[in-house]
């Protein structure tokens, strides 16, 4: 890890000023930043520690919705009584993410800013080609080992998955990211790779995430997060779904539905086609399974042409709709 200077910010303005300098980086829980600094992926010259700023760690839930300060820890949000009651999918996404130790360290703001787990991205010494890390250098994953890569929102330049669990839950329930002066819908906060995969978030140097808010809704209150992965815990999603549902008084007609996918797309992925297809329909397995196939409309897998049995991430095209259907049926009380 390259040496850097360390600055403990005493106020938000302090932090903004220090972070606006070239090669400066904000430090919150450090679980992404220090990891990638050791990989040689990020090389800050100065690190601006914001963890001691006051008032950024609050979590409040009322009739309007949830306010989550940028320094609230993943473990605190997951176990907050208001979040558990009014936004179960958010709590479930968090306690199923990373490990207890990491959740005690990592913050909500840092969580949104976490980088992809693409193994090529993380290993500059062995794989110089990575458009996200070094724009224009190519992509080692296209044609490489890409079992964990994205099937949705990909481009010719990059197929890396956004690995965030919390982000998927936030996208499902129309959360807002607050950057001090301005606020951005969480869906717009995450950028598609396009020709500029190095640019992942709608945030400018010197801007700091101060809070995340989530509006209350009946669908958010009746929600769940289903995460399917290679091992049962301490693993990123192969495919996951944040789902919320509101039923008509008859208990079987879908009034409102929210569906977002994690682990399969280059950004947290709202599946509006599934929502639209099921709104007004009866909640029953066959209808839900058929509609869930719309979650992977336009999906592209990256098979590896050479070599036997290297089917890349093709399995995700089959897996993702099943995860969505299972989550909808579960939260609707049908399965």
């Amino acid at each position: 890890m390259r040496d850097f200077s360390y600055f403990r910010a005493g106020s938000l303005d302090d932090a903004r000023r220090a972070a606006a300098l070239p090669s400066a980086m904000l430090l919150a829980g450090g679980t992404t930043l220090l990891d990638l600094a050791k990989c040689g992926v990020t090389e800050p010259e100065s690190v601006v520690d914001i963890t001691h700023l006051k008032g950024l760690g609050d979590i409040r839930v009322d009739a309007q919705g949830a306010f989550i300060g940028a320094l609230a820890r993943m473990s605190q949000i997951a176990e907050d009584a208001g979040i558990m009651t009014h936004f179960p999918a958010v709590s479930e996404a968090l306690w199923q993410a990373a490990s207890p130790q990491i959740r005690n360290m990592a913050t909500s703001g840092g969580n949104l800013m976490q980088r992809t787990r693409c193994a090529y991205f993380r290993d500059p010494a062995t794989f110089p080609a990575c458009n996200k890390r070094a724009p224009g250098s190519g992509c080692s994953a296209i044609g490489g080992v890409n079992r964990n890569h994205a099937i949705l929102g990909t481009s010719q330049s990059c197929i890396a998955t956004n690995p965030g669990d919390l982000a998927a839950a936030l996208v499902a329930f129309d959360a807002m990211v607050h950057l001090g002066e301005r606020s951005v819908a969480v869906d717009d906060f995450f950028l598609l790779p396009g020709d500029t995969p190095d640019r992942e978030h709608a945030i400018e140097p010197g801007e700091i995430i101060t809070a995340i808010t989530i509006p209350a809704s009946p669908a958010a209150r009746r929600s769940t997060y289903l995460k399917v992965r290679d091992r049962q815990s301490y693993e990123f999603a192969a495919a996951s779904a944040a789902v919320g549902i509101e039923l008509e008084p008859d208990g079987r007609t879908i009034r409102d539905l929210r569906v977002a996918l994690g682990g399969v797309a280059t950004k947290p992925w709202r599946a509006r086609a599934v929502e639209d297809a099921l709104r007004g329909k009866t909640l029953e397995p066959e209808t839900v399974q058929r509609a869930s196939l719309l979650a992977v409309e336009g999906a592209l897998s990256s098979r590896v042409d050479q070599g036997v049995g290297r089917d890349g991430n093709h399995y995700k095209i089959e897996l993702a709709p099943r995860v969505v259907a299972r989550a909808i049926l579960k939260v609707g009380g049908v399965a």
């Binding site: 040496d3 200077s5 450090g30 990891d35 600094a37 520690d49 963890t51 207890p100 005690n104 049962q232």
Partner: protein
Amino acid sequence: MTNRTIVHLEINGRMQALDIEPRVTLLDALREHLGLTGTKKGCDHGQCGACTVHVDGERVLACLTLAAQAEGQAVTTIEGLAGSNGELHPVQAAFLEYDAFQCGYCTPGQIMSAVACIREGHAGSDDEIREYMSGNLCRCGAYPHIVAAVRQAAEDLTAHKQAAE
């Protein structure tokens, strides 16, 4: 000129001042600068839990914490767990009783994690123990004995707490 910083940490109840580069992690500070090698370095990337310590009573990964970030905070390592008379912490005793290790490399991290896991109230069933101990990998695969030891220690500690009340 090298870039250095003075960091004050309360390690296992004793204040210590360290003159280190800002990039030094809490893990390297403990092992290389303070000679406290009980805390292990497995992956150095947050993926194994071998470096688990408590900062202000909460379990965290020392490999992804800058020592400078912990300025003024209380750090407990495996060396600080036993009583001053050398009496083992109930979790340490349970790991011995249940033979919850093979090579022992992951053990300090497992024990520090287990102490916190029980304190957090996440040791209510074997499934809950597995979920809330998942941040600690064991390459020897001693998991069944680790779960048994944590369950036993949780029961002992709860009984102890109830007796005290």
